[in-house]
């Protein structure tokens, strides 16, 4: 960031742009700090309340323009390379370590070597679904060829964002794959236990499968709105209307069931 000094008619207006802040030394000889985005507003208000010195307005415009041009880099200098090793979210420039993300600074000590300094968005790391992980997901829409789901939990940890997944028609069951009807396996709103088979490309979602006995629909609601009770591996019954509906039911392991 650059430093600009403007002197006009007895009012010395010094702006030093440094570290995302701008120091304005006004005519009251005070050093005031404002973050960049409100300094422009402050200058404008200040100039109006002082019953405008015309030059002040011009200066504020100049500062606006200059600030605008130099706002790309918002790096904060953390320390020099002699003290720490750069980690994630940081970069090296001219022998100093700068932050490249907005977030919290973490310093980790690793034995005799220099500590690793890194900047993270959140203090907890996000658990991502990996190939072979069992995930809990909710069906959002169905199609004769596949079912779209939102992944809610990985194992037993909830996710902060909802990832999207797809269960293809041939991955619903292990046997008789061509006779599968998605309408008889899942419905929108069902909670399903599935396993990740592929992470997918940039555009496609996670690919999931339920082709095992322990995978499939765990919680489902009937058309009357009541939670259904599983009868067999392919049927569930509503306790209120006693109507049976088809689903691909998961055989939950006995240790996970609450008596």
């Amino acid at each position: 960031m650059m430093a600009h000094v403007f002197v006009c008619d007895g009012i010395a207006l010094t702006t030093v742009a440094r570290q995302q802040h701008i120091l304005i030394t006004g005519w009251a000889a005070e050093v005031v700090r404002f973050p960049v985005f409100c300094v422009i507003h402050a200058l404008y208000c200040c100039s109006i309340s002082l019953n405008t010195h015309r030059n002040l307005l011009e200066i504020s415009h100049k500062i606006c323009v200059r600030i605008h041009l130099h706002l790309e880099s918002r790096s904060e200098r953390l320390c020099s390379t002699e003290d720490c090793i750069p980690g994630t979210g940081t970069y090296l420039r001219h022998g100093y370590i700068f932050a490249s993300l907005t977030g919290y600074v973490l310093r980790k000590n690793e034995g005799e070597e220099l500590p690793v300094i890194s900047v993270v968005r959140e203090t907890e790391t996000q658990l991502l679904p990996d190939v072979g992980a069992i995930v809990t997901c909710k069906v959002t829409s169905i199609n004769p060829r596949f079912a779209k789901v939102h992944i809610l939990y990985v194992g037993s940890t909830p996710l902060k964002d909802r990832f999207r997944g797809t269960i293809r028609k041939e991955d619903v069951r292990a046997t008789e794959k061509d006779k599968v009807e998605t309408y008889k396996s899942f419905r929108p709103g069902d909670i399903v236990l599935a396993k990740v088979i592929s992470l997918g490309d940039v555009q496609s979602n996670y690919l999931l499968t339920t082709a095992e006995n322990e995978l499939g629909v765990v919680v489902a609601h009937s058309e009357a709105g009541a939670q259904m009770v599983p009868i067999s591996w392919c049927e569930m019954q509503c306790p209120r209307t006693h109507a049976k509906e088809f689903r691909k039911v998961a055989r939950v392991q006995p240790e996970y069931l609450q008596a």
């Binding site: 829409s141 169905i142 199609n143 004769p144 998605t182 309408y183 419905r187 929108p188 009357a224 209120r240 209307t241 006693h242």
Partner: protein, 245 residues
């Protein structure tokens, strides 16, 4: 023992509204002499625990031995699997046609679902054609799918039709009456003059007679016979038959 049947029997032929409830108080005596009765609840009736609720307004009907349902008049069609309907082709995209069947969504019809259709031998279907087909997939969660072919691979009367003629819309109750095995309306109409008739369960009827005037007469007779008793209808048909001859 006959409590359930008795509850229903006194209301047969009466108009019922949604929210009417049939509740059965089973006798508390544990004799073992309670016979279990089986009742089939048809469309318009729904079981809710120990009671049966009415969900559509209409007349309660009964069929021996134990079937009860509500006969309702409705104009809005909801696609159901297995029903044969008349659709209008609205667009062609790649391998499928989009067909308007009067439901909330347009149905999709694959070009291979016609008799004798292969990847090289495409059927001759244009936008705006009338098709008569059956639903293979029709539920509230997915887009409905039509086919013009039965399970053996034969057309069986389905496919593109209707070079001339007139397509109009009636209520679903009239359509069911027309499609009944021994339909009186059809029998009475046949006596007036010959015509071709295609009835779709989505409330759409297509008529074609020798002249345009005769086609219009048949159309008007069908539309008016919805709200007439059979006697009124027969007198009307007689008047028309005498007048046209």
């Amino acid at each position: 023992m006959d409590t359930i049947h008795a509850c229903f029997k006194e209301k047969i032929g009466e108009v019922l509204l949604p929210g009417d409830v049939f509740s059965f108080r089973l006798p508390e005596s544990g004799d073992g002499s309670i016979k279990t009765e089986k009742i089939i609840c048809g469309p318009g009736l729904r079981r809710n625990g120990e009671e049966v609720q009415v969900c559509k307004s209409g007349i309660l009907r009964h069929k021996q031995p134990n079937m009860y349902w509500i006969d309702s008049q409705q104009r809005r069609y909801v696609p159901a699997k297995g029903e044969s309907v008349i659709g209008v082709v609205t667009s062609k995209s790649g391998d499928i046609f989009k067909v308007d069947v009067g439901g909330s969504e347009q149905a999709s019809l694959s070009y291979l679902a016609f008799e004798g259709a292969t990847k090289r031998n495409r059927p001759n279907v244009q936008v705006g054609d009338l098709v008569y087909g059956q639903f293979t997939i029709a539920n509230k969660d997915m887009e409905p799918e039509l086919v013009c072919i039965d399970s053996c691979g034969r057309a069986n009367g389905m496919g593109v039709f209707g070079a001339d003629g007139l397509l109009f819309k009636v209520s679903l109750g009239l359509v069911r009456r027309l499609l009944a095995p021994q339909s009186e309306i059809i029998k009475d109409l046949e006596k007036i003059f010959p015509f071709e008739l295609v009835v779709g369960m989505n409330g759409r009827v297509w008529v074609k007679a020798k002249t345009v005037q005769q086609t219009l007469i048949v159309t008007n007779l069908l539309e008016t016979s919805e709200n007439m008793t059979s006697q009124q209808r027969q007198t009307l048909f007689k008047r028309v038959a005498e007048g046209s001859l």
